[in-house]
Amino acid sequence: MDFLSLIITPAMLLGAWISGRALERRHLKNLLLLESGSRGILAVTIEELPKDWHVQSCELVMGNVVISQDYFKRFMASLKGVVGGNIGVFEPLLERARREALIRMKGVAHARGYDTIINVRLETAALASSRSDGKGTAGVEILAFGTAISLSEGTNRRTSLP
């Protein structure tokens, strides 16, 4: 039996390493592109508005993403779990996911005609793995949400922030 798994496991690790890296690079490239596109939307975590902002309408907007780590990095993380310390391979993944969620939230706001989002919150939730041994599908969901507002004409968003 175990002759086969001796071949399959390294092959899967190698495959996951190569494709995981390629996908990560592509995603980072896309993120840069999308972020420059959504620069016109101002997203802030403050709730209290400056006095001279006159809000016309508001709406809750959200953006979410479920992301999972590739097999190779999960393997590396489990090794790191033995000796402890920073699990560096997970940090870029979560960072990418948060950026993606923020971009999606801004995209929703833009599509509905808003240009400012206040009280932005980011939430992280781990989805249960489908098998009790921890294998099987597992992912992390990042949710970004906030209140999109539209301001009356003539309000200067940038300079009047407190």
Binding site: M12, G15, A16, S19, G20, L23, E24, H27, E47, L49, W53, H54, V55, Q56, S57, C58, E59, L60, M62, N64, V65, V66, I67, S68, Q69, D70, Y71, K73, L93, E100, I118, N119, R121, E123, A125, A126, L127, A128, S129, S130, R131, S132, G136, T137, A138, G139, E141, L143, F145, G146, T147, I149
Partner: protein
């Protein structure tokens, strides 16, 4: 129905409080989706099927919450929060709650 996660509706004032309104939904993963996501799990990256599933489910939770607020006679929900919990293997609960109010 105006929904917001701020304490007040910007540009309007609250004239009446109705109390907490909640909406929740528990979703299990679809088998076909789960197989695809399982494959995707090897190479990493976004699990698009789950992203859609969760955003649909969250939309449903919000609908239930606003339905409850409508029945109370409110016209807005303020301070909306979300919570996600894994209640069973392969199932997740999406929960939304907020305060139903009347604004003008």
């Amino acid at each position: 129905m105006i929904i917001s996660n701020t304490q007040e509706i910007p540009g309007k004032s609250i004239i009446q409080f109705f109390g907490v309104v909640t909406g929740s939904t528990v979703r299990a993963k679809h088998i076909g989706r789960d197989i695809m996501a399982g494959l995707k799990n090897v190479v990493g990256g976004e699990l698009t099927q789950y992203t859609e599933l969760l955003s649909e489910a969250r939309g449903e939770a919000i609908r239930r919450m606003s339905h409850q607020a409508e029945e109370m006679g409110a016209n807005a929900i303020v301070n909306v929060r979300f919570a996600t919990s894994s209640v069973a293997q392969g199932a997740a609960e999406l929960f939304a709650y907020g305060t139903a109010v009347t604004v003008e």
